[in-house]
Every structure is written in C-alpha cells, then in structure tokens.
Amino acid sequence: MRDYAIVSENLTKVFRGKNYEVVAVDHVSLKIKRGEFYGLLGPNGAGKTTFTKMLATLLIPDEGEAWIDGYSILKDPVEVRKRIAWMMGETGGRALYWRLSGYDNLMFFATLLNVPKDVAEKRIRVLLKFLELEDAADKLVMEYSTGMKIKLMLIRSLLHNPDILILDEPTLGLDVESALKVRRFLRRLADELGKTILFTSHNMYEVEMLCDRIAVINKGKIVFEGTPREIREKVEEIKIVEIQLVADDAKIEDAFRKLERLPVVKEIISSNKANEFYTIRVSVEDPHIAIPEIATALKDLKVESVSRALPTLEEAFLKIAGVRMEEGGREFKRRRFSRMGEEE
C-alpha cells in the first residue's frame, strides 16, 4: 500500500431512481503509484467522473473501498481531502463564485484549505501570471471565458500544494495553446515535484503525451489497463487503409458511396479535409486485397494514394472501450467536411 498514492478495490456506484438503476462504476480496482501520471479514458457516461468523485469523497460508494495516500475514503474522508485536489474541467467552471473576482475566489479557497495568507498570495500571483490571468484577477468571474474559468480552477487546485491531483478533463474547453501549456506544466509537476496525477480524458492525444499508464473505462468497467503503447499493440488487429484524394464536395460524396458499397470495406472511420485535399480512413479485413479494390473503385477520382496506415489511439480507444466503430462512423458522417486540424 505504501508505494501507492491511490488504491481502489471493487469500487462500485449505483444510482437508483423510481424507475431506473444505473451502475455508473462497476467493481473498479486500480493501483496508482506515487508520482505516476495516470490516465483514465472513456467515452461520455463511462463512469470517469463518478469514479473520481468517489475518490474525492464527494460520493459514497455502494460497494468497495479506496485509499488515498493510505487513508480510507470511507473512514478518513477529511484526511483524504487534505491530501488531494479535485478539479472538474469545463463544467467545473460553475464551481466558482461568479460574483467574486478571480483573486477573491482563490483567496477564499486558500483560506478554507488553511494556506497561510502570504503563501497563498505568492502562489496566486505566480500562477495567475503563468496562466496569463494576471490582468483579469480583479474582474468578476462572471466576466471570464470558459477557458479562463478552467485556468482559475486549475490554480485553485494547486493552492494548498496537494500531493495528489485528481483532474477530471482539465483541458476540456481550453484553447489549443493553453491546453498544451497546461499539459506540459502538469507533466513537470509529476516529474519534478513527484505529484501523483489521475487525469481523466477522452482525448487520446493528450493521454499519449502525458500518461505513464492508462486505464480505459466503459460502462463503469475497466476494460483495459496498460501503457499507451500497449493499447496500440492490443489493437494492431485493426486494419486501416488510408486514402488521399483531391475532390470537390460532389465528388467526395460519390467516393463515399463507392466505398460504402465495397464489400472489402468494413466501415468508413474518419475523414479530414484540407482545401480540396481529403484523407479518408477505412477499416478492412485484409489490406492486401482491399487496397487494389479501393484504388479500382475510385479510379475516376484524383486519388493521390491508397495505403495501409497504423490505427490512431482514438481508433484503438474505440475498439478497446467496446464502442462500435459504426458509432464513430455516424459521428464522422456528420462532420466529415471539417477542415484538417479542426476538432474531430
């Protein structure tokens, strides 16, 4: 137990109503080492937030137990809360007092956390400056953008310098540049100050960049635990073919129809557009058979290349989490004309 900052054993949470019963977290057992950067991945409604709320003692489990820094979440909740910071990302912006200034919000929580005034002031000043909120410190939070509120939440979670950070989608709602800055900072908190970080996300990119280990949760159950690399290896059976072509909107519709009719194509996974240059990814049974057939089917279009590609972590995640690829396909169809680099 001493080597671990967070241990959960069969942690279970069931929400019951008059006509329903939802098992939000189903016998989850995890062990997170001290100083480890641990990612908890899952689609919306997978149980990530419920799990973190139980660790933060905001929800009492129906079954199982967890220990934070050796303290039981059931028997010593106050000791647990002293040692952790729990932060919610985008929706957590509501967890601030909108009619107080950013600075006052931070001072209020610092006082509740027994941080001496001079220490709190110094930390607030440095962290506000680092996250470029210095000029907005005296503005009411109601005037803050979503990104600014998230940054403020992050500062708030660091004020008492906790050893364990439980961050629930902390970069959701941040702009690309700020998200990158926050990710690098968090990584250094783990590397240089030995902070243990439990980080939930459904963004594969940041998990790959940040985490030492990852657990994938779906429908309340852990369906995989390992390194980002192990996830990739586990799904190598996913055979992806990537098609690059130049087309206008009418022609690309034609290309989709042809691909959908091809028996060798299991499903269209994603599509990105940059000007008139499209990249379409499809899953197939056997790339050696599929590649020439796809090339033949699309011969009337300006196809630049048809080649085998490695699955992305997103695709791996969908596979591991047990989400059917077609669901990704439907989502993709709604957004398939998005420009390259835009959020998919």
Binding site: L58, A95, L96, R99, F108, L112, V115, V119, F130
Partner: protein
C-alpha cells in the same frame, strides 16, 4: 512567467495550524459571502424599502387597536412598540434562518457546493458558522432598521442602556437557538429540494404562535394553540425581548427567568443541528445530490 517559478512556489509546503484556523475559515465564509451579497445592489435597496413599508403597516394598524385592551392582556398600551419589537425580532430570526437554506439552494444549483465539499476539512462547521454569521449580519441591519423606523414613528422603547444591553444578550441567545434551525434546514435542503415552501410555512407558524403582532395571552381562550405556542423557542425569546425593551423588565422576575430557562434548554439543538447536517450530507453523498447541474 516560467514553469520553473511555478514549480518553485509549489516546492515548499506550509499550512496554518492551531485553533485560529477554524476562526479564519469561518471568517472567510462570512467575509466573502458578504462581498457576494453587496454585489447585488438592487436587492439591498428592495430590502430597505421592505423594512420601512412593513413597519408603516403596523403603525396604521395601531390606530385600530385599543390601548386599554392591550393593558388588559398584560402589555403596555403602546401597540406600535409592541408590533415593531415583534416583527423586528421575527424578521431578524427568520430571514437569517431562511437565508441559510436559500444559500444552500444556490450553492447546490450553481455547483459551488460540490467544490466546497471537496475542500471541507471540518464537516462544514466553519463554513456553516460563517454563513450563519453572515445571515445574522445582514438581518441585524433589518432588525435595527425596523426598530429605528418604529422609534421614528413614536414607538415607546426603553431608554435605559442597561435594558438594551440585556436585550442584546437575549437576542444573542435567540440567535444561537435559531441558528440551529437554520443549519438543520440547510441540511434538509440538500435532500428535499421543496424545503422552501416548508420554510415559508414555518415563518407563518412562528409569526402566529410567537405572538408577533398580537398578545400571546389572547390564545389563552384556545388552550391547545396556547400550549403549542409555549413549545416554540421563539415565543419565549420574543417575550423576553419585548418585556425588556418596552417594559424594562429585568431577568430577575420569575416569569422572565422561566422564559430564559426554556430558551437555554434549546441550546443543545446547535450541536444536534451539526449532526443533522452531517447526516443529510452523507445521504446526499450516497445518492449523488451534491450538485444538480
């Protein structure tokens, strides 16, 4: 500002210790809530208008009340003083109690309560105490505003400073007892979101059974109602307060001592209220009711 500087300020770990930290957290809960309240300027203005108008209502009603009847019922003949002292204390107590429940509703619906629960290190005691003090801070303005308006309308209050000191001590006792009701109501609110209707009903109950605008001795003709009235701590608090600031009665008289004794007997409610709050908090944590967004 570089990452290095951020890491530097997070390298040392200093926390305040000792008993003062509880007071410091209570202060933070009180002070920042007051700051939030002063950001609602319109509400401030409306509450001041409310004080003046409600006092005026009883000023005009006083023209219909016979001073002789009041004397017969065992009170001084000044109905304005009688009614103003009643509404001042009942509003003082009730706005404070209701304010805590309203605050709880606001915290839960806005999502801040969950944040507070995540940093709670004393079972919400310092936060609750701060909120109770905040409620009474603002209500004190209502209280003194009502008394002052009554005074300007000719209410005959005592001018003996010692009596006002006694009244002050009585008010503190009434506040302590009723803060328990506020804390219990706040706890229940976490679970029962329709509590506000109940609170409105309770304020009417207090006004009716406490004898706020009519002498309690009128209820002697209705024994059941009279005995119910005696079970309510506010009834005793108001009798003590009214007899002090209108009649100048000291705490040495047997009747005053009896009222005082009953009020003191309710003091353990404060401890019970914290336990009730914890009980509801735990149920809410089991059912996932700390936030509703």
């Amino acid at each position: 500002m570089s990452v290095e500087e951020c890491l530097k300020v997070l390298k040392f770990d200093e926390k305040t210790h000792g008993k003062l930290v509880f007071l410091s957290r209570t202060w933070a809960s009180w002070y920042f809530q007051l700051k939030i309240f002063f950001s609602y300027k319109m509400q401030l203005a409306l509450e001041v208008i409310d004080i003046v108008l409600s006092t005026l209502i009883y000023y005009f009603i006083s023209f219909l009340v016979s001073p002789q009847d009041l004397v017969k019922l065992g009170y001084s003949p000044d109905y304005v003083a009688f009614a103003v002292s009643g509404i001042a204390l009942s509003r003082y107590i009730w706005t404070s109690v209701a304010r805590l429940a309203h605050k709880m509703r606001h915290e839960i619906s806005s999502g801040t309560f969950e944040s507070l629960a995540a940093v709670d290190i004393d079972n919400f005691r310092s936060w609750l105490l701060g909120q109770v003090l905040y409620g009474f801070t603002w209500s004190s303005t209502v209280f003194f505003g009502t008394l002052l308006t009554g005074f300007l309308l000719g209410a005959g209050f005592t001018r003996n400073p010692l009596m006002w000191l006694q009244a002050f001590l009585i008010v503190i006792l009434v506040v302590a007892v009723h803060s328990a009701i506020g804390i219990m109501a706040a706890g229940m609110y976490i679970m029962h979101k329709q509590l506000e209707t109940l609170l409105v009903l309770m304020s009417v109950v207090i006004e009716f059974f406490g004898g706020v605008i009519y002498p309690l001795s009128l209820l002697l003709n209705y024994p059941i109602l009279y005995y119910i009235a005696l079970l309510i701590p506010f009834t005793h608090g108001l009798e003590l307060f009214r007899r002090t600031i209108i009649d100048g009665a000291t705490l040495t008289s047997p009747m005053m001592l009896l009222h005082l004794g009953v009020l003191v007997a309710f003091i353990p409610l404060v401890y019970i209220s914290f336990k009730v709050f914890e009980h509801y908090l735990n149920i809410a944590k089991k059912k996932g009711l700390l936030s509703v967004y």
